[in-house]
């Protein structure tokens, strides 16, 4: 009896606190995401987890988001998908059905985004993702999926454009790519770009994802003496590729380039001097020429990010921030929290962010040029976008002729 009384006495308080809780929920817009925080892809996944958090905190610190007459704070519901695609799909379903998040942010990597975006489309909840670049994600006529990485098919477009202006001009190319969704798209697009530029493909080889041994492919490449190696895969594989290039003494006459790794500080650290001369690409560089409403500019962002997390951001992190900012801008434009209205607002917006000028194409994917970069004396140098930005170290010296 006494317990019942206490319970009864406590009831108003309980109701009250539940009410304030609901009230609090009312003022919060929750973005849901599942990201690789552990497992094989944790190394790149961390950019997304950290950048989402930083962007949301910064936007909240500057007053949050105004939708209609009401101010909202942003919140993040983040799951660790343990580098498991199937788990990540389940987590996105959970985010929508159980956690009732308002909108979705993406995972890292094309094969994840490919599957996870289907969940967004099915439940008609917008997903803005900065981790998947494969054209397959956008080829399905989805209406609720937007992306801040440019099409994988065009990753090597600027590099191939640059090849036309190099002296001596390279002619023979070895194309080497992994067999997953993203890299298959890269290879497909690259083949077409090479063909229209009139370049010969002398080696066109695929390798198994998560493979660490390139000895066979490298021996073949060596026997064909190409001018250029264009390589597409993941960071660890790029690292192994370079190490084995050196130990098997494989020297293309012109240069060698990678889709990933080169812009990443961790990659350069792991390879040390062996990283020098490698070409790569990035959609983003931390310059003060990219103004941002919340962070000031890209250079300021890079500083804050480094201070907070202890490592340098790369384009993955900047792209992730642009995804969060897309919501902040679109929600204000939409003047409503209704997913279809927010979706239409995202499709129509245009704004400057620390990542790039954001405007989504008809299919939901952004179009951005890749800046060709090269590691010169252990520093990352932008080399080419539509014209030369800095002098490339070309042709790349053979391994035996380096200091």
């Amino acid at each position: 009896m006494r317990y019942t009384l206490t319970l009864l006495a406590a009831l108003p308080a309980l109701i009250l606190s539940a009410a304030t809780l609901a009230q609090a929920d009312d003022d919060v817009i929750t973005l849901g995401a599942s990201v690789q925080q552990t497992g094989q892809q944790a190394n790149t996944g961390r950019y997304y987890a950290d950048a989402y958090k930083l962007a949301i905190d910064t936007i909240n610190a500057k007053g949050g988001v105004k939708v209609g007459d009401k101010s909202y704070k942003l919140a993040l519901k983040l799951y660790d998908n343990q580098s498991d695609v199937n788990l990540s799909v389940r987590q996105y379903v959970q985010l929508i059905t159980a956690d009732k998040v308002n909108y979705l942010l993406g995972p890292f990597a094309s094969n994840y985004a490919l599957d996870d975006s289907s969940v967004a489309e099915k439940y008609q909840i917008p997903m803005v993702q900065g981790g998947g670049a494969s054209g397959q994600i956008y080829a399905r006529g989805y209406k609720y999926v937007f992306g801040t990485l440019p099409p994988a098919e065009d990753y090597y477009a600027s590099t191939i454009d640059m090849m036309g202006k190099l002296d001596p001009k390279p002619a023979n190319v070895a194309l080497i790519s992994a067999d997953d969704s993203f890299d298959v798209s890269v290879a497909k697009g690259t083949r077409e770009h090479l063909k229209s530029a009139g370049l010969n493909i002398v080696v066109d080889e695929k390798f198994a994802e998560n493979n660490a041994d390139f000895a066979s492919i490298l021996s073949l490449v060596k026997s064909k003496t190409p001018d250029v190696i264009l390589w597409s895969g993941h960071e660890t594989e790029a690292l192994n590729f370079i190490r084995q290039m050196k130990s098997l003494d494989v020297n293309p006459k012109g240069f060698y380039a990678f889709t990933v790794g080169v812009p990443t500080a961790d990659f350069r650290k792991a390879l040390g001097n062996d990283a020098n001369y490698a070409f790569g690409m990035t959609t983003w560089l931390p310059t003060d020429k990219l103004p941002d409403q919340w962070f000031g500019n890209a250079a300021d962002f890079a500083k804050v990010y480094k201070e907070k997390f202890g490592y340098d951001p790369d384009y993955h992190a900047a792209s992730a921030v642009a995804d969060v900012e897309t919501y902040a801008v679109s929600l204000a434009k939409a003047g409503s929290l209704e997913p279809p209205k927010v979706r239409d607002a995202i499709a129509a917006i245009e704004f400057d962010s620390l990542y790039a000028h954001i405007k989504y194409g008809e299919n939901g994917q952004i179009v951005l040029p890749q800046v060709v970069v090269q590691i010169q004396n252990n520093e990352l140098m932008p080399v080419y976008s539509t014209d030369f930005l800095n002098k490339p170290q070309y042709p790349v010296p053979a391994w035996g002729e380096r200091k």
Partner: protein, 285 residues
Amino acid sequence: MLLAQIIVNGVLLGGLYGLMALGMALVWGVLNIVNLAHGAFVMLGGYIVYYLFTTLGIDPLAALPIAMALMFAFGYLLQYVVLNQIIRSAMLNTLLITFGLDVVLTYLAQLGFSADFRTIAPSYAGANFGLLGITVPVAPLAAFAIAWLLAGLTWLLLNRLPLGRAIRATAQNLVAARLYGVNPRRLYAVTFGIGAALAGASGGLYGMISHLSPYVGAPLTAKAFVIAVIGGLHNPFAVVASGLIIGIAESLAALYVGPTYANVISFGLLVLILVLRPSRALRAA
């Protein structure tokens, strides 16, 4: 010429594979434990060599014995304190506990070492020399030589030393071994320690040739498992030799069948062996 180069690549790679499988085969054969954390041991050995090299400046090859000693102590304690509790229980239990161990070690490694990629890169890591028009990389060659050396030492230990006789006796007939005064608990711990030490050595070499991250272990466990089954569990030389077979098969497959099939080849070989020689494989398991 290309074919010759690819076979050389495969042989050198296979030596390292064989060394990885050596520890697993030993533990499996004597203790009847399929150690699913074996790849994690390889990873730990790699990190030990990495830190000895980068912080104390000890040459990676000189650091290998130190890593082996540390991994031996680790393996000994692990077996003595944890695994001995379940050694006589069903195979499933040992699989479960070593699987759990693998998960724990991997995530502890991410906490301790971060998910950053590391390479063990002494000046000679990328060195090579030409021989009859074939490029021979030095680090894989060293790994190859060390694999055979350690296989030889393991063989000597098992076949020529009293300790090895005790180990084999325990594996063959526990009761009889006990009657001769063998303490199986200690002996199991020693065997598991040797297995861990061999894994540690292969980890250091792997870090020199490839890269380290907390997640390199699992695929290496799978590879070591295949090689151990193909090579059998009782002859160290056969284990390393079957590493060579897998290495060559994968290298050839990568070019002539398509690299995507490298794993199909090694696991296909496993299935083939199990079908053609089930008695031997089953006795092993």
